[in-house]
Symmetry: C2
Subunit: 317 residues, 2 copies
Amino acid sequence: MNEPTIDEIRQAANRICSYIHNTPILTSSTLDRMCNAKLFFKCENFQKVGAFKIRGATNAVFSLNDAESAKGVATHSSGNHAAALAQAARWRGIKAYVVMPDNAPLIKRNAVADYGAQIIDCKPTLKAREEGLDEVVGRTGAEFVHPYNDYRVIAGQGTAALELCEKIQKLDMVITPVGGGGLLSGTALAVTAVSPQSEVIAAEPQRADDAYRSFQAGKIIPAENPDTIADGLRTSLGTLTFPIIKRLVTDIITVSEENIVRAMRLVWERMKIIIEPSSAVPLGAVLKNKSRFSGKRIGIILSGGNVDLAKLPWMHR
Amino acid sequence: MNEPTIDEIRQAANRICSYIHNTPILTSSTLDRMCNAKLFFKCENFQKVGAFKIRGATNAVFSLNDAESAKGVATHSSGNHAAALAQAARWRGIKAYVVMPDNAPLIKRNAVADYGAQIIDCKPTLKAREEGLDEVVGRTGAEFVHPYNDYRVIAGQGTAALELCEKIQKLDMVITPVGGGGLLSGTALAVTAVSPQSEVIAAEPQRADDAYRSFQAGKIIPAENPDTIADGLRTSLGTLTFPIIKRLVTDIITVSEENIVRAMRLVWERMKIIIEPSSAVPLGAVLKNKSRFSGKRIGIILSGGNVDLAKLPWMHR
């Protein structure tokens, strides 16, 4: 399979539309005033399983033919992709195997178990994940669905921006968080095709700035001990996502932990919606670079809303 | 002025519509499954100032003629009504005086100050509030706008249910929380007129069950030391709200603190929206009386979303 075309992203949208939400797009006059811009928030925190990840997972699961799907699907993931794949597999009536680091947030672990997946624990290293995954795939014949380095997943993630650009015209830019780059690369493909005048910009935690460094260097530089509250963004770019990002993304902006938490709390307080730290990174980028974004029409993808409500970041500072 | 007619509620809707939000109505397949019912949540937590109170306050402020309004408006309130009146006064460009108990939540106090009102502190008793209010009104000639015992306010609060019934047809019932009864009586007047087949039901904290007891006794029984986390519902019914409630409301259901907190957390976790404890009381009532509500189409007014994010109820239990 090659890089998804806009037609393939539209096919993905059709394939998944009866399972997922076409999520609402919210605005906030208070935040617009604070940023001197017009912000359009695509609320994937309201999405099924609480995150955009269900788009890519569902597209991958329903792209399989019957023989492939009969053996189930498998993945390694720190959380939202795992829950998403488990849910998508349940919708199709097939098995899901999830190799999960033993330090994953409890709320995400429970979600995966609730959706009926079989969890295989591993140490929180890429190597341990990959070994666990190889073992499961070897034993079961399950189809590996990577959290982001998979064109079926990338096409699925692109459907969020597709919906955004179909509803909101004349965006100057779309900003997404970047971890492994699935959402970012899918967004870049969709936006470039349907709203070519809009820039695509990424926002990344300073403490997990591998995408920023890779973008500057022109080659993938893996994340080293990423330690950010934005737990969805600790992963490194993939060999499939990076070329798309390098070609289509204008800029990657890094955001401090303090500004991530501040942006997250602002959204909670002012918009009365629950977003996870990863979702707050784009707003953090806008708030710290006001002159750059002043007067712009900005689409922001709020990537998810899965937070442990008993452990909020402003409680520990 | 007499009890608001449906025409007067419609006039209120026209008077306030350029200032307030026609708030979204959200649904949740997870909560529907848990309740075996179809729930329609009218999201006044997304409303201006974070609560339905802006409806009544704005209607009252813009009902004044120029001579009346020139002297400003005054009220006593534990929070959301005060912020609402301050905001409405600012929209009209007049002064607002707010007599506020010194134990009001900081987030609500700050909101009132941010909207430009003058705050006059008092002890947290009805007597102290009334004395403080009399002093301010005597000194300034400001128009007193009671938090609920005012037909202009009642008509304004009724506009939320009007919007709900216009969008969602064939509701079997509409449930609101009840404190002083402004939202409940306005809802009852609106629903009875535009959706006569729908029952109107109230939900009230067990620990502030004056409305329940008044409803049973057929006369107003004031709240005695109400001690509930639902800080918006500690007030007693009013002489204007009670007759409407007695005539048009089917039932008042009381809910324990534990079930209020559980329902609140459920909405946060499953719907990813922020509601204050008062807003959770109706869902608490449904969850504890499932057989009664099974199979029904139920409108629930989520009254507000103003919560101190540094002090969440599940942190202290």
